[in-house]
Symmetry: C2
Amino acid sequence: MNKIYVVGIGPGSYEQMTIKAAHVLESCETIVGYTVYVELMKKHFGNKEFLTTPMKKEVDRCILAFEEAKKGKTVAMICSGDAGVYGMAGLMIDIGATRYPEFEVEIVSGVTAALGGGSLLGAPFIHDFAVISLSDLLTPWETIQSRLIHASMADLVICLYNPSSKKRHDYLEKACDLIMEHQPETLICGIVKNIARDGETIEILTLKELRDKKVDMFTTVYIGNSNTKRVGNRMVTPRGYEYER
Amino acid sequence: MNKIYVVGIGPGSYEQMTIKAAHVLESCETIVGYTVYVELMKKHFGNKEFLTTPMKKEVDRCILAFEEAKKGKTVAMICSGDAGVYGMAGLMIDIGATRYPEFEVEIVSGVTAALGGGSLLGAPFIHDFAVISLSDLLTPWETIQSRLIHASMADLVICLYNPSSKKRHDYLEKACDLIMEHQPETLICGIVKNIARDGETIEILTLKELRDKKVDMFTTVYIGNSNTKRVGNRMVTPRGYEYER
C-alpha cells in the first residue's frame, strides 16, 4: 500500500523536530502545508517541491497532497507542533478513507506548542492538565465556556491555544473571568510568545494580570492549578503531595 | 552559569527523540535516569557514565544528578516522553533552586506518550483534551474522580496515564464507570501498549468494552469525545463542525 505522511514539525526550530520527522521529510519529494510552516522548512530541506494553501483551506490542502501522491510522488503534509493536536492528521485520515483508500496515512508525532512552551516556562504540566482552544471558528463559544469552567472546577492546569485573533480580541479576558469564578486571581500563569522562533519571550504572571494582557495568535497561554508556584523565574506544578527537601 | 539538562527522550525509540535531545545527550558526560530508560539509551549513546535510581526515588535521583554536575561533569537527567509531563523537570527546578542555585536547569521537550500513542491510533486530539493520571500515589483518589467527572461533563477527549498497577488493578474500571455517568457507553476509545517499543499494539473499542479491559502500566488509554469516530481501523476526533466532503 502506498504511504502518505502527515508530519508534526514541532514548535518551529529544526532542532525541536524529531529525528523521524526529519528523516521522513528528507525522503519525500513533495512537502505540502500552510504557507508559514512551509517557509520554515524550505531552508532545511532544499531541492523539493513545496506546495501551500492559505489558512482555512485545510480540505483543499489535503486534496492537493493526495493528488500529488496519486501522481506517484512521495508526499508529506506538514503541521506545526504535533500532527494530531489541532493538526491535519484527522482530516487526512478522513479524506483518505473516503476518497483515496489506496493510501495508508502515516502520522509522525511532534512536540506540540503546549510542551515546547512549557519547557521554556519551567514545568507547568507535572500534573493533570487540559488543552483548550479559544477559537470559535468551528466550535460554539458555549462549548468552550463549559470546558473552561469544568477544567477550573477540576483544578486542572489549563493550556490555551488560539487565545486571540483580530476578531476575538477579548476572548482571553472572557476566559480568565470564567476561570476566576472557580480559582483565585493570584493563580500562577504563564505566556509564551513565538515559541522556538525569532522574538521568543516568556512571562510569568497572576491570573488577574493575565486577564488584562494583550496576546496574539502566536501566543500560548498557561494557567496553573491551585498548587502551581513560581520558583525564581519559572512556573512549576508539583507532582502532588509535598516531598521532603 | 553552569547548565544541567532535563531531557525528554520521547516514547521510547531513538527516532522519536528530537534532534535537540539527541545533541544534548551526545554532548553530556553523564546520563542519569530511571533504570528502564537508561537501558534504552545505552545502545545509542555509548562511552558515557550512566547512573540510575529505582522508581519512587525521584528526589535521590535529582540530588545524584546535581552532585555529579558539581564535580564538573555535564549531566543530563532523562525522562520518558516529555520532561515536563509527569516528568522530572519540576523536581529538578525545585531542588536546583533550593540546594544548587549555581546551576541553570535547561528543559528539553519531547513527544509525550499521549501524542506518540495518539499518532498510532489516528487523530484522537484534533480537538480539546485532558490528560489525567490514575495513580493515587501522590494524589487523593477524590481529586482524580473529580477530574474524570468534570472532563466527561465538558466532553473533553481524555488521555489516561498510569491506568493500572498491581495495587490498582480496578482503577480503569472505576474511571470508566464514572465517565459512563456522563457519556454514552458507545463512546469510541483506544488503547496503546508499549508505545515505540517491542510488543507495540493498538486497539480501538467502545467505552463499555474498555471498562472490562485488562491493562498494565505500559498502556496509555484514550477516551473520545461525543464526536470521536472510528474511521477504518483509526480513532479520529473531528475539528468541530462538519466540513464538506
